[in-house]
Subunit: 541 residues, 2 copies
């Protein structure tokens, strides 16, 4: 029989304290829906009364009709010297209409005296009054003991009194917070064990990652008796972040003997982690454990040949169990086995003794030296391979393009692209506007191609990334542009490198279109456009 | 008396197995120099014979005359069925002229039979022969027991035999590798303790971060008796990376009772971590523990007011001890105390009751909603504040700019910017070329300004970053441009947001120049240009 560990997500509250993390109410509601699907038990929505956005959230979240998750509000104990009944902060919590609340109180004598500037006795009374008041309104009350571990080390007796004050007042759960994130695993283990032997209600753990130990500390706390784990998706949070639930869940469930979510929901971890990165507008770290793009990516030639025989030789869990997948990387460290594996994926027969294969490896090395990285641009890589073997068609040939950008005074701004292509032996000249130079160029290219390859209407660019390669040269330095495209079903990534951002973008744009046309070569119907040739033999569209 | 823990850095070897990490020989030598200054005991340079780059490294590193660090080579035990004396891989190690070598051998019976495809007995012989051979050439030999923890759990008896084979053959140190990175802290603790009780030479630990546990596992291994820790700077490495030495060092030395490096060298951690990120061309994660830009950044208003009173309220260590510094962030979550703190830095007197202060907070919220983030663009923020208080001069007024980009066929590419400004009541029309549109615009703007503000020649852009805000819209979506500028002494960052990348760049560019002129307002000499007015009253330069 597996023991249940309850998950308490604070991405929407503590997570947004992280630098660069900002979520609109719509963003928060989208994330709530995903967390409910994953089966997270508690979702902390915000701090009612701290700003109008949080109040709007608590109003609108009631319309979502969640299946599994309980929405909770966050707040502090009553103010020093006041009464709980008249405390604006506590009243706002009631007003938010949640069924569960997490209120935090001080458990470190130093904090009480120096940050709160009140007496040790009054602080205990604040905890007690606040818990009792919220309980009397029918709420489930979770007490977050702020700075508990620092408090326990400084004045164990007082830290425990803070917990007992909450327990005696009727709290349902006590959460031990490593607020500053500096506590070590062996300390967590000893202290949580001690607390679990002394309190009679559920104990939870809330870790921060300032020592790069938050995941380990959370696991160790559970092994020592904690049954609620607080954290955030992807470990967002103040300073170095909160404990990362995306790593804690599979560790608890796949490696230890606890249950957090339903077994089949583990497969959603990768997509949910990515989804939240997107909503929060954060670049997903490629080396993120369990769910990162590189988490099951094999680069060393020796690793690749072994993992292809037996995944467990270089994988701690099977990637598909957490919704991720195995990847084989092509780079200068690659042995031939990586190249062979890639080629197999594309139904290309490579011969180890073939001079073209050797030439291809050489070309890859040169391109990587220029700044190309095919790891993140597999479509461009496939085009490169096909080109080496002479099996790539030219769907169009560029004669020229011109881009005009104009800004007048403070207001008007225009961007136009003119493009001249040769397609199927016809000369096409067309123009389009756009939001920026690359957008205008994309529009003009598609406008020209659509007439010949109507299938192009099914695809569009879904992501556009720019990386400055040699940052010391600023705007004069080389840039790497990555473009991701989709036809609604599949996604593919292409790359371009140049000192000119427009040229780099053009290279990636051309690869993106070429790749799609190549993949659909068998279904492309050539629809010749109505000709309106002028004297130069140019079609104007 | 503090116990010594030896550091073994494998950034140059295991680190480069990470996706997207690639280091030239020059890069490697630069990193070696920094690691030597930090006082890392062993630096693994590469695998001699695996590629020509590594051989060049071992030749050139001898010219560096390191003070503290020992350069080591990596390699495997001899091939199955061969002899150590004729093993090409082992001979290359001798040839590399290092004094210390780390050779890895299999400690997991499954790996021996399935990946190596040899017998259990032959594998032990391979370990024994290889260690003995290298010792006979006078080398210090470190034996890396690959997959030791998985091997120990599968067949403890055989895993231990692999260690004894190395010990009996004269190895100086045995390193227990969690190659797949999936071992849990409590397993590390038990297994390392058991091994330390059975072998009589130094024991080391080599962790990977697949469970987000590498730092904790390394600390716990030291507490269980290990005295060598292997890892990489910033945790680079295959899949999810190796154990991050940048976090391990301060944890061992500042929170536990071990010595790794000289006390005063801890202050170098932040600069070395950043340096290696730059050399490896990786974006430094802002939330990286100890050394990240956000590691001591305070965003919540309540945290800010407390940490200004007493740093230890929300900081686990003092930032200056690891060479980092405290930051206060300005964002929609900010209370007035953050704004007041910032204003103090700039000698602006804000009054809490002042309507302009309230208006400013409102403006910040609106701007952040549009996609501005002043956290990373403090110069733009300062301009915004000064503007609100009416204390900002207009150094120039834009009439218009136009950019022309042209690409012909596969080869020629031209980018030109034309700009018309009003400076000191004069109309200036000028043009410049560039590597790309923003570079051309930068050149044209400076060309126009230089004549009036010669001091502008002292500054240049040092970094240019583009972030797509709503990635689902690709090239049509909003972009945020961050520009970093420097005058050789100071650096400042500015921001622009727009759906048009050129407009966003322009906004950041203008802020960058305005900021520099404002800072140097007292030293600006107005040098009026020679006038060559045409009939329209326009100066052409």
């Amino acid at each position: 029989m597996r023991e249940q560990v309850f998950l308490y997500d604070t991405t929407l509250r503590d997570g947004t304290q992280g630098e660069g993390i900002s979520l609109s109410v719509d963003d928060k509601l989208k994330i709530v829906t995903k967390l409910d699907q994953l089966g997270v038990h508690y979702i902390e929505g915000g701090w009612p009364g701290s700003n109008p956005k949080d109040m709007e959230f608590f109003r609108r979240v009631q319309e979502l009709h969640l299946k599994k998750s309980t929405i909770t509000a966050f707040g502090s104990t009553r103010r020093s010297g006041g009464s709980a009944e008249n405390d604006e902060n506590l009243l706002k919590i009631i007003e938010s209409k949640v069924g569960t609340v997490a209120i935090f109180g001080k458990a470190w004598d130093f904090q009480v005296q120096e940050a709160l500037r009140t007496t040790l006795a009054e602080n205990l009374q604040m905890i007690s009054d606040s818990v009792r008041f919220l309980k009397s309104h029918g709420l489930e009350v979770i007490f977050d003991a702020e700075h508990f571990f620092d408090g326990y080390k400084a004045n164990k007796n007082y830290a425990m009194k803070a917990l007992f004050a909450a327990e005696d007042a009727g709290a349902n759960c006590i959460v031990l917070c490593d607020t500053n994130g500096g506590t070590l695993p062996h300390e967590i283990s000893e202290i949580v064990k001690d607390v679990c032997g002394k309190v009679h209600i559920q104990v939870g753990i809330h870790c921060h990652n300032d020592g790069e130990l938050a995941v380990a500390n959370s696991l160790i706390a559970v092994q020592a008796g904690a049954r609620q784990v607080q954290g955030t998706i992807n470990g967002y949070g103040e300073r170095c972040g909160n404990a990362n639930l995306v790593s804690i869940i599979p560790n608890l469930q796949m490696k230890l003997t606890y249950t957090c979510v339903e077994e089949e929901h583990l497969k959603k971890l990768t997509s949910i982690a990515k989804y939240v990165h997107e909503i929060a507008n954060q670049t997903a770290p490629s080396n993120q454990p369990f769910v990162g793009r590189s988490a099951f990516a094999h680069k060393g030639g020796m690793h690749v040949s072994a993992v292809l025989k037996h995944p467990q030789t270089y994988e701690h869990v099977l990637p598909e169990l957490v919704g991720n997948n195995r990847r084989v990387l092509v780079s200068e460290l690659s042995g031939q086995s990586n190249l062979m594996f890639k080629a197999q994926e594309w139904n290309i027969k490579l011969d180890k003794k073939d001079p073209t294969s050797k030439q291809l490896l050489e070309t890859i090395k040169i391109k990587e030296h220029e700044g190309y990285q095919y790891e993140a641009a597999e479509a461009s890589f496939e085009l490169l391979v096909k080109q080496s073997y002479g099996s790539l068609k030219d769907y169009f040939i560029l004669d020229y393009f011109k881009i005009f950008i104009e800004k007048n005074g403070d207001e008007s701004f225009s961007t136009e692209a003119v493009i001249k292509l040769c397609i199927q032996d016809e000369i096409i000249l067309t123009a389009a506007e756009g939001n920026g130079p690359v957008n205008a160029l994309d529009h003009a290219l598609r406008k020209a191609l659509e007439q010949f390859y109507p299938i192009i209407r099914n695809m569009h660019l879904s992501d556009y990334k720019v990386r400055v390669l040699d940052e010391t040269e600023a705007t004069a330095s080389k840039v790497r542009v990555l473009i991701e495209s989709t036809d609604g079903q599949e996604k593919w990534s292409t790359i371009g490198v140049s000192a000119n951002i427009i040229k780099a973008s053009w290279l990636a744009l051309v690869d993106s279109v070429q790749y799609y046309l190549m993949k659909n070569d068998d279904v492309i119907e050539l629809v010749y456009p109505q000709k309106t040739n002028n004297s130069l033999g140019v079609s104007n569209h």
